[in-house]
């Protein structure tokens, strides 16, 4: 029986207090005070929907064989590329094989649950033994808008398959409505909404009930059967009304994470599900609804296997790794909504050499180094000639995936001269786990946080953005290793 094998989450380090947004921009639309609650997660300047999906994917597949993954799906409404399959970048970063099924699921907030359904059906239909769904979203509200308050950045991921499932897939029910509560045209940066009351009553109010009723009828269940209920709804009062009307079990409805993360779009139902699985017990029944141009309702039953998975993944530990972004303008600059002076080094032309990127793809996207067959020396990047002076063997490299190994700080600096969206730019040498060194960017830290010998892990990030040609290039950066929470 198909089901979830593993889960992963990702919430970026920086959180922006919604009152800070209101303090800066509330003057233009005072009604935003009504949603100015809690804080929202904000991706660093080098994060986007894709990098957060990768981060969640890394969290999810830790301890699993990457080569056993047969499909990689990426769900988002804010893909960095309209044409160039984003899922393939995700797959490469996660070090999967190249003979995998890949697809982007997009254009709806239920893209995450739809991708998950496709993955479940892919494995159930014998398409492959394991499929990975990685979702990430980084939606933009106009400066001073309600959406700006509501939207937060996050990622979530699920490994799906037929064996050793931690939550068995029981069935689903989907609806498709061209209900335009909000939309973003092909050339628009910002979300645009229709009237709130209509969205609350006809949108969330009717469609979620319809989907829950549908799946219950299909599976012969009632709303009260579910131990955990996961669905997004940004309207608190509507949510309470739905909860009461559906007759969910007391305490079953999961925290919507709005106050801590914000609405992370296509990733949100999956983020909530990942969070719910952290303390799920065998036998529990979980209902997940993805809402957006209709609904997907999915039902899972938790198995004994969940106790063996361990607690070293999910959402809580990312939530605990929190740093306040105390400057609203920093957020606006990081999202490139206004131009700040980066100095002349920031104007360096960054035209991408695509044939070079293709040749180097294993090293650049998947952080593959080489291990010399002749002498065993690990090195990055993998080159034709072994760098060990005592060896020097030619064409002797076996590729090795380094992204999940991390390392330790060997040397570092915080550079005020280098062009950076978050100066001083921290970078330095990392001693790689397994041997060798790498000079690389550090992120999610300042030079003050660093010391020689400190453990670091690797995070897939935006390396360069070429504004002239609208091209994002990615590479790995070192971040202080996440401490376990609790």
């Amino acid at each position: 029986m198909a089901g979830l094998i593993s889960y992963g989450g990702y919430v970026p380090r920086y959180r922006l207090n919604c009152m800070a947004i209101f303090g800066a921009m509330g003057w233009i639309n005072p009604v935003t005070l009504t949603v100015a609650r809690g804080e929202k997660a904000v991706g660093n300047f080098d994060e986007d929907a894709l990098t957060m999906a990768v981060a969640a994917g890394m969290d999810c597949v830790r301890g699993f064989d990457r080569c056993g993954i047969d499909a990689v799906y990426f769900a988002t409404t804010t893909a960095p590329f309209k044409e160039r399959l984003n899922a393939n970048i995700v797959a490469s970063a996660l070090g999967t094989r190249e003979d995998v099924r890949s697809a982007d699921y997009t254009a709806s907030l239920k893209a995450g649950t739809t991708a998950l359904l496709s993955a479940l059906e892919f494995t159930a239909a014998g398409g492959g033994s394991r499929a990975l769904v990685c979702a990430g979203d980084q939606r933009l509200g106009k400066i001073g808008s309600v959406q700006e308050m509501l939207f937060g950045d996050a990622g979530a991921a699920f490994l799906v398959g037929e064996e050793n499932v931690i939550a068995e897939f029981k069935g689903s029910y989907s609806t498709a409505h061209d209900f335009v509560d909000h939309l973003r045209g092909a050339n628009s940066l910002y979300d645009r909404m229709w009237e709130d009351r209509w969205i609350r009553e006809v949108g969330y109010g009717q469609f979620i009930a319809e989907a829950v009723a549908g799946v219950c009828a299909k599976l012969g269940m009632t709303a009260a059967d579910f131990d955990k209920v996961v669905y997004p709804c940004t309207y608190g009062s509507t949510r309470r009304k739905i909860d009461r009307g559906m007759g969910f079990k007391e305490g079953a409805v999961q925290d919507d994470l709005l106050a801590a993360v914000g609405d992370s779009g296509a990733a949100h139902p999956l983020l909530m599900l990942a969070k719910a699985l952290e303390d799920a017990r065998p036998g529990e029944k979980i209902l997940v609804v993805g809402y957006g141009s209709g609904c997907d309702a999915l039902v899972f039953e938790v198995t004994e296997a969940i106790t063996a998975l361990g607690k070293d993944r999910g959402v809580s530990r990312w939530l605990a790794r929190r740093a306040e972004l105390d400057n609203y303008l920093k957020y606006i600059v990081w999202r490139r909504l206004i131009q700040a002076d980066m100095g002349m080094r920031g104007e360096f032309d960054l035209e991408t050499r695509w044939s070079l990127i293709w040749r180097e793809r294993k090293a650049m996207l998947g952080l593959h180094g080489g291990i010399c067959r002749a002498c065993g020396t690990q090195q990055f990047p993998p080159e034709r000639v072994c760098a060990n002076p005592a060896c020097g063997a030619v064409d002797s490299m076996d590729l090795v995936y380094l992204a999940d190994r991390g390392g330790r700080v060997f040397s570092y600096t915080g550079d005020m001269l280098a062009a950076s969206y978050d100066p001083p730019a921290a970078y330095g040498n990392i001693e790689l786990g397994g041997g060798g060194k790498m000079l690389m960017d550090f992120t999610d830290c300042t030079a003050d946080d660093l010391e020689v010998g400190m453990p670091m892990e690797f995070s897939f990030r935006i390396k360069l953005y070429d504004p002239k040609r609208d091209v994002t290039n990615y590479f790995w950066k070192a971040v202080p290793a996440l401490q376990e929470v609790g």
């Binding site: 760098a387 600096t413 280098a418």
Partner: protein, 400 residues
């Protein structure tokens, strides 16, 4: 075993512009200035030059590729002119090529000239450029010189268990000393003495390097005309011969960048180049035999680590020598008697030749008393280009 370059070539004449913000000068003007002084000193005519090499690094704002720009600017008489580019070693590379040309017997008189016009870049510090190849744009941080070299300091503090305040103090002593020397040199860019407090308290550029730990961005040009000792004696019978004792270099193998063997504070290329240079020059105890040095003090921490790499100070012992005034003008082994990169700035292609110019003047006792090194016999110059983990090092030893 090759017999080496020792005493096979003499410096016939040298020239050097004032370094600084030469807003009214282009690269061509600077070349003319340095070349003019060198020619006058060498007592030859332009037609006597049989080959030329040009040290230059940043092509885009400077002299472009190849040697055509320089040949045209100086109107050299249709001799072969080649651009020598090797990061910060470019000036010394041009010198090496000219010296090898003469030593091989391929020519009698050759010109080495270096130039860089950094003030036309618009940058404070060096501009971005993919110095290690395009693919490294996608791997390496968009780092700057200070950021690359600052890592020596964090690694040094960790390796020797020295508190960063102490490292900062030692680095400051390096800059303090160079400013004292540079203040007395009319060709230096920065000509003010600075206090230890000013240096330590200066704004941070790349932790832990403050602005006074960094050399300046300057324009400049320097030139050398080299020939055989026999011809030199004939052309300038009244000048003591300044001869080339050694010219050695070393480029990173890639081991430092990817390997585990490197300690992150010693620069293996400097160690290798100096070992070879001492052997070529017949120097057994560099700490005692070398009279003076101009080393690549792009940053104060670089000079500090270089003292250990050159075998002058024991590993971990540079701080003690620096504090004791060992490298001061009146110390046992004066280092940067002209003020160094710290006060001259670093027009990359010119720096190596500027260092040789100082050694040449000192050996011929042509510097004013207040800056004259006592009884100099052997001078060493050292350049380090790239960054600590991936670099080129060049060393020249000249002497009487």
């Amino acid at each position: 075993m090759a017999e080496g370059i020792k005493d096979k070539v003499a410096i016939l004449g040298m020239g050097c512009t004032r370094f600084g913000e030469r807003w009214d000068m282009g690269s061509d003007d600077l070349l003319v200035e340095a070349f003019g002084e060198a020619m006058e000193d060498a007592c030859i005519e332009k037609k006597d030059i049989q080959a030329a090499w040009v040290g230059s690094h940043i092509t885009e704002i400077n002299i472009g590729k190849g040697g055509v720009y320089v040949a045209n600017a100086l109107h050299l008489p249709r001799v072969q002119v080649t651009r020598a580019e090797n990061f910060c070693a470019s000036g010394t590379e041009a010198f090496r090529a000219a010296v090898y040309g003469v030593a091989s017997g391929a020519c009698d008189i050759a010109l080495a000239i270096g130039v860089e016009k950094l003030k036309d870049t618009g940058y404070g510090g060096l501009p971005n450029y993919p110095g290690f190849g395009q693919e490294f744009l996608y791997y390496l941080p968009m780092a700057t010189g200070p950021g690359f070299f600052a890592q020596l300091a964090t690694a040094y503090a960790s390796k020797y268990g020295i508190p960063m305040e102490k490292v900062k103090e030692t680095m400051a002593r390096v800059s303090w000393k160079s400013h004292r020397n540079g203040a007395r040199n009319p060709k230096a860019h920065l000509r003010r003495e600075v206090s230890m407090e000013q240096i330590i308290g200066s704004p941070m550029i790349a932790y832990p390097l403050g602005i006074f730990d960094c050399c300046g961005v300057s324009d400049g040009s320097a030139a050398a005309i080299v020939t055989t000792p026999e011809l030199a004696r004939k052309i300038k019978p009244n000048q003591e011969l300044v001869k080339v004792k050694a010219l050695q270099g070393s480029v990173s193998s890639g081991e430092e960048y990817v390997g585990d063997l490197w300690d992150g504070v010693g620069i293996p290329t400097t160690r290798e180049a100096s070992r070879k240079a001492y052997a070529e020059a017949g120097i057994k105890d560099p700490r005692r035999e070398i009279s003076m040095m101009e080393v690549h003090d792009c940053f104060s921490i670089t000079e500090m680590c270089t003292m250990e790499d050159l075998g002058i100070s024991p590993n971990g012992g540079a701080a003690e020598d620096i504090a004791a005034g060992f490298f001061d003008l009146d110390g046992e082994l004066p280092c940067q008697p002209d003020g160094g990169l710290k006060c001259f700035g670093h027009p990359i292609g010119a720096s190596g030749l500027r260092m040789l110019y100082e050694m040449y003047l000192q050996l011929l006792r042509r510097v004013p008393e207040e800056r004259q090194v006592k009884d100099p016999e052997i001078g060493l110059t050292h350049n380090l280009g790239g960054h600590p983990a991936q670099n080129v090092c060049s060393i020249a030893i000249v002497g009487l």
